[in-house]
Symmetry: C2
Subunit: 211 residues, 2 copies
């Protein structure tokens, strides 16, 4: 009978260990994505990410098959399956524009908010987005809309110092944080929705008509 | 004897539950700081944070005792006890400069890296920092050093779209992430140290002499 008691205790102890290691495994599996990307980085061809088909290989002079800061950023953007909210001060990077257009073509719901003064800078891609049917709003306030963040599928935040311009992507020293940490993502979603609402042209029109 | 076995099993089960709740409590206690600050926010007096003494209350026209985005940023900066590494594109905010000077006076080791073209903008505070004996370096490259981040005590990262200027702090739509997440903080510490080394004036002098 004593052996039975010892056996049962051992069983309960094994159960403890098993439960603990299961909790540990589950926590590891739930590990939240946190990544930092710095610019400048080496240049590389990104046609394998943006090109129309893998059947047409690219013969440009840039190194092929290298992972760069731009390719890492593009991969995160292109991972969108349902929505992409962009809040960008300036937008003149052709590669980033191609990524957004590709997502739009795939059926991803895209909302773009940009600064009214920088919406028409040289090389601005905003016109191409509008032409493709993407909903773009510009802020109506008198101050700069200086944000440079993107929220992918309402779960992945990309934010930092990097403006979506050619100079920023190819030259400057810049940083980007890519995170799925809910405590960081949630406030940006709320802020985007708030800014999207207050910069609704219909609302502005209504306000100026009623004034 | 059977009751003894049941008793022992119950004891082992209680032990399981106790260990699990301890793990849970420990994880909660270890909760990592993650905060988002948006600008603009309402204005408020920050003299209680920066003023020379609480014996001299401030009589300025700004609201007193309100928590604003600037006061939250200042609190995080002023929490530094050993070191503060600043990597800022432009630095013309008087309040932020006063915070840095106060930390320097307290004995906190401060390193400032700023963009060479923006180091002398109107209202730049860099001169005051240098005059106080704070080590300031500017980048020697031809591109913009566009970062705007601070690392407090090698454990707290403050980064975002906000330049350390009066316009950014008082007017623009801006964001800041404040985090102690090691996966985010560590790369910024490494990048700061890398930039600090490559922009060492002694190194530049040596290189140009030997060229």
């Amino acid at each position: 009978m004593m052996w039975k008691a010892v056996g049962l205790s051992l069983l309960a102890f094994s159960f403890t260990v098993e439960v603990l290691s299961w909790v540990r495994r589950r926590n590891k599996a739930k590990k939240i994505l946190n990544e930092v990307i710095f610019f400048p980085s080496e240049m590389g061809c990104v046609e394998h990410l943006l090109g129309p088909s893998k059947l047409y290989p690219c013969f440009c002079a840039l190194p092929h098959g290298v992972e760069t800061s731009l390719s890492r950023l593009l991969r995160h953007l292109l991972s969108a399956t349902s929505s992409l909210d962009l809040c960008v001060f300036a937008f003149s990077s052709i590669d980033l524009c191609r990524a957004v257009l590709a997502l739009h073509k795939k059926g991803v719901i895209i909302r773009v908010l940009s600064d009214k003064d920088y919406i028409a800078i040289t090389g601005s891609q905003i016109g191409y987005l509008r032409k493709a049917g993407i909903c773009v709003r510009s802020d109506v306030g008198s101050v700069y809309m200086h944000h440079k963040f993107a929220v992918v599928d309402e779960s992945l935040l990309i934010t930092g110092s990097l403006n979506w311009t050619l100079t920023a992507v190819q030259g400057n020293m810049e940083n980007l944080i890519v995170t799925m940490e809910p405590e960081l993502v949630r406030p940006f979603i709320q802020e985007f929705n708030r800014l999207w609402e207050i910069n609704d042209p219909a609302r502005t029109l209504f306000n100026s008509t009623s004034a």
